[in-house]
Assembly symmetry: C2
């Protein structure tokens, strides 16, 4: 499903995308700091390292700004509570409907 994106829509998309990514990374940072502060066994650092690698793969996979992927990405972000549909106000009706369908999957 390919949509055309107007300049105004690209700005809305970029802003919503960056907002979700920032809040994802802030949550990651907080969780990381809590994990780091709570360990006592030095070997647990390797578990945290592996957890970070897994989180990085997940984040890289989810936050894909290609316009061909973006409606799916927004659908997943709204579904996961990382964006609200209202963050996407201003996108075309057909995109919003598509995103809502992904949310409802």
């Amino acid at each position: 499903m390919e949509f055309g994106w107007s300049g105004a829509e690209k700005k809305i998309a970029r802003r919503a995308f960056e907002r979700a990514l920032d809040s994802e990374l802030q949550a990651l940072l907080a969780e990381f700091k809590a994990k780091a502060a709570s360990i006592d066994d030095p070997r647990s650092v390797w578990d945290i390292r592996d957890w970070l690698s897994k989180r990085q793969r997940q984040i890289d996979e989810l936050y894909d700004f290609r316009y061909s992927q973006l409606s799916f990405v927004f659908g997943r972000l709204v579904r996961d509570g990382k964006l609200a549909m209202s963050d996407l106000a201003g996108l075309s009706e057909d995109k919003l409907e598509f995103i809502q369908r992904v949310v409802d999957l």
Copy 2:
């Protein structure tokens, strides 16, 4: 350079090796916690992850308990201040001389 290791020497070696590794890992844990506590930019977590991976490779490479490697390993540990020659008291004279030569490299 292959040495034979008596049962008593193996015990001394194992104890010294574990002591050095424990203190290496405790220092790593302390450094990790300090790094984790000090970052504010979420993207710094990836730097810490990469640093942990590098440290793990270094530690895995250094702490090689094969008897064929152990005299080199002890030499490096003493040279780096992670063990004292006195931790190795009870090893045969030829091993201690060999280790001292590695220390002096």
